[in-house]
Symmetry: C2
Subunit: 409 residues, 2 copies
Amino acid sequence: MNRLLEDLRIVEFSAFVAAPLGGMMMAQLGAEVIRIDPIGGAIDFARWPVTDSGASLYWAGLNKAKRSVALALDKPEGRELARAIAAAPGPGTGIVLTNLPPLAGLDYQSLKGVRDDIILLRLIGNRDGTAAVDYTVNAASGFPLVTGQSGTAGGAPVNHVLPAWDIAAGLYLAAALLAAERHRSRTGMGQEVIAALSDVMLAMVGHLGYIGDVHINGRARPAIGNDLYGSFGRDFATADGRRVMIIALTPRQWRALGRATGLADKLAMVGAMMEVDLESESGRFEARDAIAALLARWCAGKTLVEIAAAFAGTGVLWGPFQDFVGLVREDPRASPANPLFAEIEQPGIGRYPMPGLPLDFSAAPRQPTRPAPRLGEHTDMILAQVLGLPAAEIGRLHDTGIAAGPDGR
Amino acid sequence: MNRLLEDLRIVEFSAFVAAPLGGMMMAQLGAEVIRIDPIGGAIDFARWPVTDSGASLYWAGLNKAKRSVALALDKPEGRELARAIAAAPGPGTGIVLTNLPPLAGLDYQSLKGVRDDIILLRLIGNRDGTAAVDYTVNAASGFPLVTGQSGTAGGAPVNHVLPAWDIAAGLYLAAALLAAERHRSRTGMGQEVIAALSDVMLAMVGHLGYIGDVHINGRARPAIGNDLYGSFGRDFATADGRRVMIIALTPRQWRALGRATGLADKLAMVGAMMEVDLESESGRFEARDAIAALLARWCAGKTLVEIAAAFAGTGVLWGPFQDFVGLVREDPRASPANPLFAEIEQPGIGRYPMPGLPLDFSAAPRQPTRPAPRLGEHTDMILAQVLGLPAAEIGRLHDTGIAAGPDGR
């Protein structure tokens, strides 16, 4: 959290990862981010992981520091209120972020009808309007068929578990929001910005060279398990049943690895034996099985602690594998010892370390991380402050089921 | 490409994915992005995939639309020129993006000594200054131990192939750049912005709820292969040897799946048999093996084309798996039929479809995608235009090996 964008207000209609993440980045940069949800919550309100009482750790994680307004978006009056909040006048306001199909009255033209300089940022599935989500986009990307061991997987796809395309899309939208707001502050013009999730994937496959590889070379990279493509990197088992990733991307890292393991002379024999220059990335890639044979034996004779001691301060690029439990319980980087984290009381869930923004701005000191709101926590506040509704009118909206607070009514 | 940021100039000292991607996003938004490399290229200049002649498709992919300056960064005079370009006066300039350890004279204090309002955005490995790359950060994230089939992988980690943490870090930096430039345009103040790659990972693990899961629930999600966690989604083999991902996140998608497959009655039996409510995500997750048994048989009796026909227009959320070759040769979304792509002549490589920005700005029409520069292509132009050096002085810099053009000299 910091206060860098505290003069901005963003209204979010969202679910799942992408738009909530983009909006949360803005909130953690100090913007007022108002997520407007249907009464009872959107489709992601109970998304796993959940607590034993069913509260979503996922929803809490992706909506930190936002304000929550709950309205009957299935009724015209609810949608009118949502539109009025989204298009309310004022500098730094009139910015809408969504990854949901537009509801009647909440599309770009309708919003622009209320406020000419509205900025609407919208994530869609495919460019042609058909549905796509992280899982289907990933299936089309080519990556699942080169993930995992080519030998053992038998050509079956392996999905990555991280929703990487959603994450990229959300961060693209955050940058796009700032670019569009910059443009508006200079020209007075709003605009609609559209990103297709499948385009985010396609752009990245192209950026990383895989489209060119097929077009120019007529080939595609194979599945090579955990090996690093085009240089040296592989995972190894330790004497105490752990696994480590060892990498040599640069000549300096390669020489450090030879020194730290005492294997420099034997590794030199690999170069001669395989007739490759191990100072080059492609040489190390070609000789990777022979290199790994030496390193595997070395690692198998040492515990993780012994390997860490052998590599400390040597310039070797390496790291242990750990599971989520190990990350949380044993890695100090995942605790409030790291300024990224603060231990926060999350209503309905409890107290645990929640991350702020993974960015340190020297001109905008870190503020305490704020928890996610309870659903509808800010309904009355926003109706009063943004729309100027009197208390009696807000009461009527609750009575008629158009607005709801944190008690769901 | 568009012209939204054409009044900005960003100087990049970078390698690999993160900073080059962030810089390229700015370049594709119209900013002048000057990547300054050592003569002969940085550590990523020959990164795989490469062509048969050794030209890097990866480097070309991540440096499109930039300008390239090659200087002897190992010599004080080369570094002085680099600093002068980075800190040159003017509105919209004085922004530096890097993921390399700072060279002497190119750290924040030195740059600020030349230009007080400099903005420096810097990606580091770990917050404490120790090295970390996508592979080591990923090993620590917990994700490799829940990727792939829990049964067959025997607890061995499976790395995802997409450099997802680098991608996220690069996009965070792009948004941070715009936030810092916004702050400077309002206050006149520059700043240093630091992101640690491990913090990007840690923030995301927390945002997705996995840190809370361990803290609050005392457990971590298991490896469940390609199954979707907490709802229904799995991959299935078709009669013609292809695989498809089928998902039902919403009740609407679930009902559509029952209708389109003709299995609605049998799926209802699954609900009764397993005693779960299949209208709920957690009910479908609990009954996923029984649901999958029905769907597996249905898919195994149909070709991919027959499945596509059965699902067309039904609201079923699904997609086929394809490899990189299939993506490039058979998916029209990866061709110039998609405005994201333009067929570009990349010097030293050839002609192939290269992606622009996966964002459509209604107020900033798409411009033609531009290829990556040849290394050093803009050395003379930048020395003349930005530093105002006369031709004789530029000639001297070439003669003394301080500057180089695309011929490497």
